[in-house]
């Protein structure tokens, strides 16, 4: 039995943040119905990355929306709204990520939905919160990275370097899923419904809780990245990734004189004071970077690993997927859409009772489940969909 079996989630959200939360709930066993705008659907369907189109839709849509159903409706049409309200009466969870004010206008705000279904868990995801200064600003990943200081942590000293995927969307989705799950637990024990709210900006600050706390208690000193081989603005040498004779090597913690001895790097030997690993990290990293280019990655790993120095090869996806360490995880699954189109994607990263949470159900075509959903949940039928 899956943890969320028999739970019904009605998801109005689009793009990545909200839908990544409902994907997690789906993989845990919930039935997730996407409410999609008639004719268009989730805008993510046409949000292509590097122009990759799979079965007529974007690769990211397929990644985010597998294991879900699609209910195509026009929320400006009263007949359709009636059907959605019928569905919400049976739902355990409802999710949306519209800008503040939109759900009020459509008549699906928390107060209204609660009147339909008193113990529903109503989950709302916004960019900057629903009240106050940022209300209504676009909740877009790169912009949230930019305003919360995140771009000064990666890359070498110099200009801002963004994290190269939509990390804030995923964090917010992850936090929303936590809030929903916690309230489903409360509901399971007390029957109470709930109102869960997450914003991308709060999630972005939470992601940086260690470094912002450091900043706030350190007299306001800004993070300083190293001139080269930076991997963490707050850590000393050797922490970083270095070029070798034939590739790259990642080095985490390790005493500088010990490393100097193991690697045969004389120039590094005299940094014997542990404080120098931080205070003189630019100097040390420059020496280390030069030295590591004199040998292959394999050579250095063969010296460092047996000495319990934390180090690693640096792989791309092709190398990763060929590695036995990756294969042992069974991380890839194949899913199939209702029209027979099959594609590969990753699975849920959580194991429950030793089982992988996989599902062969691919992403839905727009409106593919209307008939079934209407016949199952709707007593007042719309003329449009009969």
């Amino acid at each position: 039995m899956k943890a969320l079996e028999d739970y019904l989630v009605v998801d109005f959200s689009q793009f990545l943040s909200g839908p990544s939360a409902s994907l997690r709930l789906a993989d845990m066993g919930a039935r997730v119905i996407k409410i999609e705008r008639s004719g268009v659907g989730d805008i993510c369907r046409t949000l292509y990355t590097s122009n990759v189109i799979m079965n007529g839709e974007s690769s990211v849509f397929h990644a985010i929306n597998r294991n879900k159903e699609s209910f195509e409706v026009d929320l400006k049409n009263e007949e359709d709204c009636k059907m959605v309200r019928e569905l919400l009466k049976k739902a355990d969870v409802m999710i949306h990520n519209f800008r503040p004010g939109v759900m009020e206008r459509l008549g699906f705000d928390y107060v209204t939905v609660q009147q339909l279904n008193n113990n529903i868990i109503y989950a709302e995801l916004s960019g900057y919160g629903t009240d106050g200064a940022g209300k209504g600003k676009p909740g877009q990943d790169l912009l949230l990275q930019s305003v919360t200081g995140l771009t000064w942590l990666s890359g070498n000293a110099g200009g801002p370097v963004a994290m190269g995927l939509s990390i804030v969307d995923m964090l917010a989705g992850s936090h929303l899923a936590q809030g929903i799950l916690a309230c489903l637990f409360r509901k399971a024990t007390s029957g109470e419904g709930a109102f869960v709210q997450v914003s991308m900006i709060e999630s972005a600050y939470d992601f940086q809780f260690e470094t912002i706390t450091t900043f706030m208690n350190d007299g306001g000193a800004l993070p300083e990245r190293t001139a080269q081989n930076n991997a963490n603005a707050y850590l000393g040498a050797p922490y970083g990734i270095y070029k070798t004779g034939n590739g790259f090597i990642a080095l985490a913690m390790g005493s500088i004189p010990v490393l100097a001895g193991l690697l045969g790097c004389k120039a590094m030997e005299h940094y014997t004071d542990p404080a120098e690993a931080f205070d003189k990290r630019d100097e040390i990293k420059a020496i280390l970077a030069d030295h590591l280019q004199t040998g292959s990655t394999e050579k250095w790993l063969a010296i460092l690993e047996p000495a319990d120095i934390w180090c690693s090869d640096v792989l791309n996806w092709k190398q990763l997927m060929e590695h036995e360490g990756f294969k042992a995880l069974n991380m890839i699954q194949e899913v199939e859409m209702t029209d027979g189109y099959r594609y590969q994607t990753t699975r849920c990263p959580i194991r429950i009772d030793g089982e992988l949470l996989v599902s062969s159900k691919g992403s839905p075509k727009l409106g593919q489940d209307n008939e079934r959903i209407i016949s199952q949940f709707v007593t007042v039928k719309s003329s449009v969909h009969e």
């Binding site: 990211v60 309230c183 900006i201």
Partner: protein, 383 residues
Amino acid sequence: MRKPLEGVLVLEFCQFLAGPSAGLKLADLGARVIKIERPVKGDACRQLAIKNLFVDEDSLLFHTINRNKESYAADLKNPEDLEMLRKLIAKADVMTHNFRPGVMEKIGLDYRSVESINPKIIYATVTGYGKEGPWAAKPGQDLLVQSVSGLTHLSGSSEDGPVPFGLSVTDIMCGNHLTQGIIAALIKRAKTNKSVLIEVSLLESALDIQFEVLTTYLNDGGQLPQRSKVAGSAHPYLSAPYGTYQTKDGYLALAMGNLIKISKLIGCDISDFYTNADSSFENRDELLLLLGETFKTNTNVHWLSVLEPADIWCAAVLNYKEAVELEVFKNQQIKQQLDLGNGRTIDTTRSPIRIDGNKLYAAKAAPKIGADNKKINNEFDLK
């Protein structure tokens, strides 16, 4: 409001960041979290300082991750301590650990043994790379996991070589996944009344955050991500103008947007490189450079006043000084103060989740090692 996890008792055998960050999330949602720590030394994170910042004898880092928890000191190699722990485990709802595979088996607190003490326990483990395969014994350290996961080929420019994310992203995401798994297990247990085993690993979490781009890779004939050569480009799979740009007095971020509209607004002629919609990806490098030349000629305030009214998705790139001065940081009350006693406090951030309209605050500072032994011994009748 009744916090959703009120009444849930969590025993945290985890150290460092991944596991304890999950403990913190559970605590903020209402659970009671007791850290089980070895006497004298405790969680190794107590000594792991960044910028050498300590609060009394413990690092500020430890305080950040372990606020709102209790501490119970016990020596897992001492039979008497172990006996008391078994009694405590019998009363717990959840236990978490991140020992390397095999350690808990030796101590006798592996899942099978614990299940026999408490048949309704949620037993949750964090590993670096899972329990099987050649990497199972490798150290589960954030930078190393980033390095094998392919994540370092997504940020920065193609000139940079691998660029890791500049904070412990795999630990933090793994902590988030652990939190989700644990709460899902509590829901499952509410129905079955039986113990549940939850397993997460840093590597699986590192792969999960790449699920969109990995799915693209798996279905586009295996083309590796190609970052732009241009500094400031922000996503290997997204076209111009996506990125950050230097201006006369700072940096500006531009998300996805209509290039023709944007170039007109800022007065930049892109006609040489933009001939149709595909150009924005195909000529990404040239377009990023061209826009960059124009942005350099004026200030952030100027460009924002041109772009924002036209609904172009843009923002100034801020540092921490500016980020904590933001109106939204203040009016959403993202900061909270921890009470160290004697009038001393630590400023930190609060939980990012709101329940029933309430922000979740907790002023309780991180515990000293064994701070709660006496209370817990009495309360659970352990001695």
